[in-house]
């Protein structure tokens, strides 16, 4: 190629964005030192005394830190599985619909909740599941005792998983739908001529054809195991459900910005980042090996 003379222009086009990233993503990273310090806000990050791993040791002695870690993993594991299953089943069913208009209309409606904020979704769900809300009307109509969904440690995780699935299953199906449209119709024609029923076509053509996409999404979801959904939990939880609903990110917010224990919050946050980073590397390696996927 002879057009090598544009490098300067290319660097200039990238410059503004890179500067902003340096200021807002890279520069704050020196603050990670706080995790290893007896941080003194008056002295700042550069002058405070280094104390090694004491903050991390202290973190492991805290009983609520253990709960928080367990909650994070269980909540996000339940969400990832439920989301994947619902999205897959929805995509498979939608794929059976032949009328384009019906298909498009259902898709449009089902993607919509993804674009609403957790603040609003939490507001809606809190109203619907409140003591005199719509759901409890049904519960009492069926002859059961009303349930305090948002202050019960039994129900709260279910509410988290349910509202997550409600919001995201449609959007999660996009990748499956894209994979399904890629299957060659001639496979189905051949199967139909050989007398394969629709169930057999599902098992022997559809599922094997999208197996790699299912594996890919399952593997990639591993990277976000420690993200159980800050916006959702923060807007839905209250003190009564801390035992079942508090997750790493909400815990970091409370000890860091509410209780001002900067060094402890940074230590917890750093541990989470490091573990997540390792999970990302592992999941991308697995995705590359099993589904031949690369980021770019």
């Amino acid at each position: 190629m002879k057009n090598n003379g544009f490098s300067t222009i290319y660097h200039l086009m990238l410059l503004p964005g890179i500067i902003l990233l340096l200021i807002f993503s890279i520069y704050p990273m020196h603050g990670i030192l706080m995790a290893f310090q007896d941080f003194n806000p008056a002295k700042g990050v550069w002058e405070s005394e280094l104390i090694g791993l004491d903050n991390f040791k202290y973190m492991f002695t805290l009983p609520d830190a253990k709960d928080v870690f367990v909650n994070t993993i269980t909540i996000s594991a339940m969400k990832l599985t439920a989301n994947l299953l619902f999205a897959l089943v929805f995509a498979l069913m939608l794929n059976e619909i032949r009328q384009r208009f019906v298909k498009k209309s259902i898709q449009t409606v089902v993607y919509l909740p993804h674009f609403l904020s957790w603040v609003l979704v939490a507001g809606i769900f809190k109203d619907m599941f409140s003591l005199d809300g719509f759901i409890n009307q049904i519960v009492s109509f069926l002859g059961f005792q009303e349930i305090m969904f948002f202050s019960s440690n039994t129900w709260f995780p279910a509410i988290l998983v349910g509202s997550e699935v409600w919001k995201e299953f449609g959007f999660g199906a996009i990748v499956f739908l894209a994979a399904l449209t890629g299957i060659s119709p001639s496979l189905y024609e051949a199967a139909a001529i050989d007398g394969a029923s629709r169930t057999r076509q599902l098992w022997h053509i559809t599922l094997p054809s999208i197996a790699s996409v299912i594996v890919l999404l399952a593997v990639l979801s591993l990277r976000s195991v420690l993200d159980a959904g800050f916006d959702q939990v923060f807007n839905m939880y209250n003190k009564l459900v801390y035992p079942s609903g508090d997750i790493i990110d909400t815990y970091v917010y409370r000890i860091g910005l509410v209780k001002l224990q900067f060094e402890l919050a940074t230590a917890v946050g750093l541990l989470k980042s490091v573990v997540s980073f390792i999970l990302i590397i592992i999941s991308y390696q697995l995705a590359y090996r099993f589904a031949n996927y690369r980021i770019f």
Binding site: S7, I124, W166, I174, N238, I295, F296
Partner: protein, 295 residues
């Protein structure tokens, strides 16, 4: 495709269609419910009579909101944020995607930049250090604290880079022969050809700015600077969880909160999304799939 005409197959089609329609209904039912509550008479709401259609239709709660300056101040801040933040995201994304979509032979440091971007996306300093940085830059209580930290949406950028890379290389050759430079090529060839991808990432960044509440909560010291979602989370939803200490308080709180008013605030806050979504959604499916699927 061969469509089988057996009775069993037709019944299966019917069941699938009904199941799908039910799922679709469940997705909008909560939204209809909120709209119905916001338009209903409070007494009928507390009596539990309102489901998906308003009863005793009135606009009382909307009139109350119109007299509530805090609500539309917050609304205004969110609109400002979407316009400014959306513009910054758009300009940076388009400007950065072009050089990053060049072949390595044409722009050697390409992968270096790409790894830098991916690094910032995967590894962040965390909540407290970022907060302290924003504070030390004196951005607290300014709109810049809401738009600058996310100025480069790396995920959207990668979608756009992949989209650009899939455009035919012959376009470049032809344009260069005619003496066009990179900027000309970007604005007159790449952008017009990438409208679905650009519409998609614009929708994502607009929705992202409209929906975020947490940065407003931590970077704004004064409630009059809250964007809309932060205002809603404080006034309608969160009513400080730390003050709720026992079960009785929760129910007491639920009883005094005005459900029709809250519902109206929630409904008005999602209205902009409901209005722009139908116009942009037809692009985003092609935008996502073409940007993320590679040869």
């Amino acid at each position: 495709m061969v469509v089988s005409r057996t009775a069993g197959s037709k019944i299966a089609d019917g069941i699938i269609l009904i199941a799908l329609l039910l799922m679709a209904f469940l997705c909008i039912a909560p939204l209809l419910h909120v709209a119905a509550i916001s338009l209903s008479d409070s007494a009928k709401v507390s009596a539990g009579l309102v489901s998906f259609l308003p009863l005793g239709i009135n606009f009382d709660s909307y009139i109350k909101i119109m007299n509530d300056s805090r609500f539309y101040e917050a609304f205004g801040i969110s609109v400002q944020r979407v316009l400014l933040g959306g513009l910054i995201n758009f300009v940076l994304c388009v400007l950065m995607a072009y050089p990053l979509s060049r072949e390595k032979s044409e722009f050697k440091p390409r992968n270096l930049y790409m790894w830098f971007l991916i690094f910032t996306m995967m590894f962040s300093a965390g909540l407290v250090p970022t907060y302290i940085t924003i504070k030390s830059l004196h951005l607290m209580d300014t709109i810049w604290a809401l738009v600058l930290p996310g100025a480069v949406p790396v995920f959207n950028l990668i979608l756009l880079v992949n989209f650009f890379r899939n455009l035919p290389k012959e376009l470049d050759e032809a344009a260069y022969m005619d003496g066009a430079g990179p900027l000309y090529l970007l604005f007159y060839v790449y952008i017009p050809l990438s409208l679905p991808a650009i519409a998609t990432i614009t929708l994502f960044s607009i929705v992202g700015h409209w929906n975020s509440f947490f940065d407003g909560l931590i970077y704004m010291n004064y409630p009059e600077n809250f964007p809309l979602q932060t205002y809603i989370s404080q006034v309608v939803i969160n009513i400080d969880p730390n003050n709720i200490t026992n079960v009785n308080d929760v129910s007491a709180l639920a009883a005094i909160s005005n459900r029709t008013l809250s519902a109206a605030k929630i409904f008005l806050s999602m209205l902009p999304i409901l209005l722009i979504y139908p116009f942009l959604q037809r692009y985003f499916i092609t935008g996502i799939t073409l940007g993320s699927v590679k040869e």
